[in-house]
């Protein structure tokens, strides 16, 4: 004798069981008192629920003030560049850029973020990591914590270094944040690389937006040019859905990447590899902080902003859901 299975009985009464299974349940109900009682109860519940629900049909319009809670709205589907969980920005700078690089031996070597952590980059940074990132004196007990400590140290040293003069005026107060220290993915490398940039570029009043493992070029150790050329560039800006929802009011998007471009020209044509050039978005440079170039769209509504890092240029190795971004220097359109 088996215990009556309520779900099975309801499925049987709803006519949802295959014939053999229905026959088996029917047999049980006929021969087993417990199953018979359960079936009778189920019949009553089905009838009762139908009757109760029918009472809801006599609802005049606009008379019930309380609406049932519904699940939170799904994040809107955004343009391709904002859907990019991460972006590598490649600048077709050509030989001019290479030349400029060769003429600028002090340009720091790029350091590569841990892109394998991209899928988890949207998850909040553990409180521990945040704490350590802001507490340089944390004892070093493990490689990861060492890295985090190094991040904090790097951040400290970054603060003490003179910041290169911006090419253009900084964005106005309240301009969209790009990355924030607390939002950087808990990758040791990424933290190490991202924190100084974040500290250097995030307006203090701006909300935390992104979890961004990224490439950092400022403050890195110089590297041989050949090594630089072979460095797999994986600068990333990961769109965090929570952050996206939080920034709904401003509706500003952020993406990131590497650009091997010089400061000038101050506008870039930005698109992904699959987008025709005609659909590109012209973004103008609004700020340059160290090797971080901040872009804002001139065309898109709502405005799209991006940050890019001057660094290694095009590299393979994109990982889903990243989208390769091509940012080509261009002359700025007239306002």
């Amino acid at each position: 004798m088996t215990q009556p299975d309520e779900g099975l009985i309801h499925a049987w009464l709803d006519g949802e069981l295959p014939p053999d299974e229905a026959a088996r349940v029917e047999q049980l109900v006929a021969n087993d008192a417990a199953w018979a009682a359960a079936a009778a109860e189920a019949r009553g519940l089905i009838a009762a629920s139908a009757r109760i629900l029918s009472a809801l049909d006599e609802v005049p319009a606009q008379v019930i003030p309380d609406r049932p809670s519904v699940a939170a709205a799904q994040p809107r589907r955004l343009p391709w560049w904002t859907r990019a969980a991460a972006a590598v920005i490649v600048v077709a700078g050509g030989s001019v850029l290479v030349l400029q690089r060769s003429e600028a031996p002090s340009l720091p070597a790029p350091q590569v973020a841990d892109t394998a952590r991209t899928p988890s980059a949207s998850s909040p940074v553990p409180a521990e990591a945040k704490q350590e990132a802001t507490t340089p004196s944390t004892p070093v007990v493990s490689p990861s914590s060492r890295a985090r400590t190094a991040t904090a140290d790097a951040a400290s040293s970054e603060k003490s270094q003179p910041t290169p003069a911006p090419a253009v005026a900084p964005p106005p107060a309240g301009a969209p944040a790009t990355v924030a220290p607390s939002a950087v993915a808990p990758s040791a490398v990424a933290e190490k690389l991202a924190a100084p940039i974040a500290q250097a570029t995030v307006p203090t009043a701006a909300p935390v937006r992104e979890a961004v493992p990224m490439m950092r070029t400022t403050g890195g150790a110089p590297a041989p040019r050949a090594e630089l050329a072979n460095t797999p560039a994986q600068p990333l800006a990961l769109r965090d859905q929570e952050a996206r929802r939080a920034k709904a009011a401003s509706d500003v998007s952020v993406m990131g990447g590497v650009v091997a471009a010089p400061v000038m020209p101050a506008c870039f044509v930005v698109r992904d590899a699959a987008t025709p050039a005609g659909d590109s978005v012209v973004m103008h440079q609004v700020r340059l902080t160290g090797d971080t170039v901040f872009l804002a769209s001139r065309e898109a509504e709502p405005a799209v902003t991006a940050w890019v890092l001057r660094g290694a240029g095009p590299r393979p190795g994109l990982r889903s859901p990243m989208i390769a971004i091509i940012a080509t220097p261009t002359s700025c359109p007239k306002p």
Binding site: S49, L56, D57, V70
Partner: protein
Amino acid sequence: MSDTERLFTTYHATLVRYLTRRLGDRDWAEEVAQETFVRALRQDHIVNERSWLFAVATNLVRDDARKEARRRRHLELLAAEQRDAHVDAPDVSVARALDAADARRALDTLAERDRQALLLKEEGLDYTEIAEILGVAVGSVGTTLSRARRRLAESFEAQQRARAERRA
């Protein structure tokens, strides 16, 4: 009869009833239903019309698409005709209004998935369609429904009992 009219005639009444039960507001339900049909008309091909319509309507409710749906009025005439044809003028006595309020409160005590499964089943969707819309296994629908029906009945009964005690 065009595809549009057929789709509308076949599913509008049940969809509005489902949405009204779900939302507790007929105007809102009408708007969401109309938006659902507008979206259906944009589709080249729908494999399972009923399942598709209810899934979209469910998602619209979730997305709170009411504001956008307000602008979709071009099916209003059809909706009015359909409503006149299928919905009798409500006889909202006090007792029935109280029953409706109890039913609403009872329904609101259910978990979201249970509530949706129950409302979809009441509109005649089969277990496969319900499972598809809710994103659950077909085998779990029976259990979900049995739980939902039991809780609805118990909660409704409790509401009525409490009201009777207050009156006494």
